[in-house]
């Protein structure tokens, strides 16, 4: 597969050209109530409006698109396979369909129903597994049967470059940006966006945000080396419980200013605020950055910051579960 080995400003700008006309250049919204609560102007990048309901589509489409281009000479029928707690599966399924490629996605049994439904609705093959430990073997089986190319949802450089396009858009959409905050799970978004922003405006601070119970990125930064839990933490922010990967770690270590952690209640509170005040459908993982922006630890750090962008990473949530998700 002809992937760029590295993620650079150039690969991100190339990704932007690939995504143009395919990914949505999502709007940035503001809300006076949240500004008051945060003590500064917040700019919400609405990736809940992105195709397939989350930013993951960007990286997936960039990777699949490049794969198709490099495959053209061979005329071989293409299959792709990926593993995902949900949103990358949705993004990969749609990207594959749009590019005329077959997709196989491996998801945990307990992934949100709506994400499984979205994957199926895009015509991808869905394989569910009880334990994440079984994913690598399942992927291998798919590859043996179909010759599918494995595209990691967070470690593949083309995927990371695709996510980085949000950084380019933010710099264009938000003048006088002081800082950007975004959720971090596998680290694809944080790696790509931090590379884009630091390459162009190194003065803009780049922060990650994660649940306290899934604080692998925080511990990694503190220790100076990548750390992952041996188990999968449980958080209502189901999309960000994975630890950061080896590829994304190097970019995060070099480009990210800090990571903030938030409690489950802070995430629920942020969900309620964004839903009720902004009338946006967002998922818990999607508002982890909002929770961080409203937290005491961020406020202590953000003295003097006037304009902070927060990425709302996705909006794929089971509506039936919403009431319990918001109960504190």
């Amino acid at each position: 597969m002809n992937t760029n080995a590295e993620v650079t400003l150039q690969t991100i700008e190339e990704a932007a050209r690939t995504l143009a006309g395919h990914a949505i250049r999502t709007p940035v919204e503001t809300c006076e109530t949240l500004d008051l609560l945060a003590g500064r102007k917040l700019f919400f990048k609405c990736e809940n409006f992105q195709k397939s309901g989350a930013f993951k589509f960007r990286g997936a489409f960039n990777a699949v698109s490049r794969l198709v281009r490099s495959n053209e000479p061979t005329q071989r029928e293409l299959h792709v396979v990926g593993d995902s707690s949900g949103n990358y599966a949705c993004g990969l399924a749609l990207a594959a369909r749009l590019c005329g490629v077959s997709a196989h996605v491996v998801m945990p049994n307990n992934a949100p129903e709506c994400k499984k439904q979205i994957v199926l609705s895009y015509g991808a093959t869905l394989i569910q597994r009880e334990r994440r430990q079984d994913f690598p073997q399942t992927i291998k089986q798919v590859q043996e049967m179909t010759g599918a190319v494995y595209i990691s949802g967070s470690q593949n450089p083309d995927v990371i470059s695709g996510q980085g396009t949000m950084g380019l858009e933010l710099l264009q959409q938000v003048p006088d940006l002081d800082a950007v905050i975004m959720p971090v799970g596998g680290g694809g978004m944080l790696a790509g966006v931090s590379m884009a922003i630091k390459s162009i405006c190194p003065d803009v601070r780049v922060y990650g945000a994660e649940p306290e119970v899934a604080n692998q990125a925080t511990l990694s930064l503190q220790n100076g080396e990548r750390f992952v839990y041996s188990y999968v933490p449980r958080s209502i922010a189901d999309g960000v419980v994975a630890g950061i990967g080896p590829v994304t770690w190097t970019y995060i270590r070099d480009n990210v200013d800090d990571i903030f952690t938030v409690t489950e209640d802070e995430i629920k509170n942020a969900m309620r605020l964004v839903s009720e005040r902004m009338k946006l459908v967002v998922e818990p993982s999607g508002v982890v950055g909002v929770a961080a922006a409203l937290s005491d630890s961020f406020r202590a750090r953000a003295v003097g910051f006037k304009n902070v962008a927060v990425i709302l990473s996705g909006g794929n949530v089971d509506l039936q579960k919403l009431p319990e998700l918001l109960l504190m």
Binding site: P27, E29, C46, N48, F49, G53, C114, R272, S275, E276, M278, K279, L280, V281, V282, G315, L319, Q320, L322, P323, L326
Partner: protein, 327 residues
């Protein structure tokens, strides 16, 4: 237009000036899935993003603003009272607060909790009553007698209706190829204001109302050729539309509206689910009624020639705890 019309293009344009910088010029969004389902290009006017969570703020702000101006130095002593199924109470409470004026709201006791809470959060006093037109009217009069408050009718007051009409002006600019617009109708204020704005400038654009089948007084009135009113409010899931069309709106609706489409409770719920899940927008059931109409078979039969249809998502004030009941 008739010579002694109280809602005209001019009153709507004046309202737009008054509202400029105070109301949100809400975005228009599109969605490929909904286009596919409806068989045409849809343009959703997102009034769920409006201040106080629904378009009602427009009319409320215009009315309060003009009232305050005309009261000059005594304006700070003004008190207002209104009866509302919910969103007008929220809009008026917020508009009153912004003008430093006291507001008293009368709402049916079965109004969504979030609407009651929002009115209170903007400093309005709240009196609950039975969900029936007579009870609301009686309670409003009681409050009026007790406080000397000025009654602001959400359905009949021309300033309110003109404020709502500003959505029509915005749509003409935001959707240049628009050949039809569809919106929910309860008391008919939005339909009146928007139809006046649009028909005055582009009379060939179709203006359609959308109503729940169980709360179809506008459709029935059009059919009978005279205004029909339910004595006791129907109970559609579209709680904001459970009132009757007003007398003033009726006179305009007869002239300006091309058709009213009615939709079932299931169609409303389905439309709401689609907008939440596909567009990631929080809208309330009443807010989904226009969407339901445009997806319905009767729309495809009778308005099938319309290719670029604007649909007003009127509001997003819904009790999330009740979501599983609603959907």
């Amino acid at each position: 237009m008739e010579a002694n019309d109280v809602v005209t293009l001019k009153t709507v344009q004046k309202a737009a000036d008054t509202l400029s910088g105070h109301v949100i010029m809400t975005p228009v969004k599109t969605d490929e899935t909904l286009d596919l389902l409806s068989g045409r290009r849809l343009y959703f006017k997102c009034e769920n993003f409006q201040k106080s969570g629904s378009f009602k703020f427009r009319g409320a702000y215009n009315a309060v603003s003009r009232l305050v101006s005309s009261n000059g130095s005594t304006a700070h002593r003004l008190e207002l009272v209104a009866g509302s199924t919910g969103n007008f109470a929220c809009g008026l409470a917020m508009a009153a607060q912004l003008h430093g004026v006291t507001a008293h709201m009368v709402m049916p006791d079965n109004s969504p909790e979030c609407k009651k809470q929002m009115a209170l959060s903007h400093g309005a006093s709240l009196t609950l009553c039975e969900p029936a037109a007579q009870d609301i009217a009686r309670t409003v009069n009681q409050v009026r007698d007790a406080t000397g408050a000025v009654f602001i009718s959400g359905a009949e007051r021309p300033d309110v209706i003109s404020g709502h009409g500003t959505m029509g002006l915005e749509l003409l600019r935001q959707v240049p190829a628009m050949d039809a617009v569809v919106m929910p109708v309860g008391t008919g204020g939005m339909l009146t204001g928007v139809s006046v704005a649009i028909k005055s400038i582009c009379p060939e654009i179709r203006v359609y109302g959308a109503e729940p089948e169980v709360s179809n007084c506008a459709a029935m009135s059009l059919k009978r050729g005279e205004r029909y009113a339910f004595p006791r409010f129907p109970q559609s899931v579209a709680d904001g539309l459970n009132g009757n069309i007003g007398k003033l709106p009726w006179t305009y609706i007869q002239r300006n509206v091309d058709e009213i489409f009615t939709v079932s409770e299931d169609e409303i719920k389905n439309a709401m689910r689609l907008v939440w899940e596909r567009m990631q927008l929080m809208i309330e059931p009443s807010g989904a009624v226009g969407v339901a109409a445009v997806l319905s078979d009767s729309f495809k039969e009778r308005a099938g020639g319309c290719k670029n249809v604007a649909v007003i998502l009127s509001g997003g004030n819904v009790d999330i705890d009740k979501l599983s009941e609603i959907l």
